[in-house]
């Protein structure tokens, strides 16, 4: 199945793109998507402890299920305001 991955701020810089499509095998979780991403881009790994994640623009946990067509976002620590 295909999911859209969104990356922001420093994660986007490290990946060189803010959006990419990943193929992952079902059943999948956010963690599955992240692992598939970091396998290719090891520089992202160190963010796992501090980032937040969202599925379809709602905050979620790494264990949340991901379905075909979902948008999965990885968010470094925020700095708005």
């Amino acid at each position: 199945m295909r999911v859209t991955v969104k990356l922001f701020a420093r994660l986007r810089d490290l990946a060189g793109t803010g959006e990419l499509i990943r193929e992952v095998a079902a059943p999948a979780t956010v963690q599955t998507v992240w692992n598939s991403l970091t396998a290719e881009m090891p520089s992202l790994v160190k963010y796992e402890g501090t980032m937040s994640v969202a599925v379809n623009a709602e905050y979620a946990r790494m264990a949340a299920a991901v379905h075909d067509g979902d948008e999965v976002a990885f968010l470094p620590p925020v700095s708005g305001g």
Partner: protein, 158 residues
Amino acid sequence: MALAAVTRDPLDLQALMRDIAEGGAGDGAVAAFTGLVRDHNQGRKVRFLEYEAYEPLALRALGRIIDEARETWPGVRVGMHHRIGRLEIGEASIIIVAASAHRAHAFATCRYAIERVKQIVPIWKREHFEGGEVWLEGATADPDDEKTKLAAYRIACA
């Protein structure tokens, strides 16, 4: 005018205040907060800032903060607009307006809201300073973390 907004346009405090105050003739107190881009940060001379957002979630997070405030201070009316894109020194990055019959509630809501923005709204600042640029990173966003929520509440109500 939407109560919660993430926009590339300059923010209009007066318009938001008018909207919040309208129809609330029982509300005598209006507190407002404006965040301005500073010309320095951590010893660096700032040239300008660039704000990036995960827009749909940022909008929801702002709405969530408004809901939290209403639950905590019943009857308070609150609006918050965050600007994104390139912002020059002195420009407003965020405006928050809270109206209530009680000035303590208006102030507390405003104070709570800005703390919560810094905790849970997926927006990032890229600082362009003299000699380089850097992504600023603050809090790990977790809207369900009751500890950070309580910290914001304590700051607002202390």
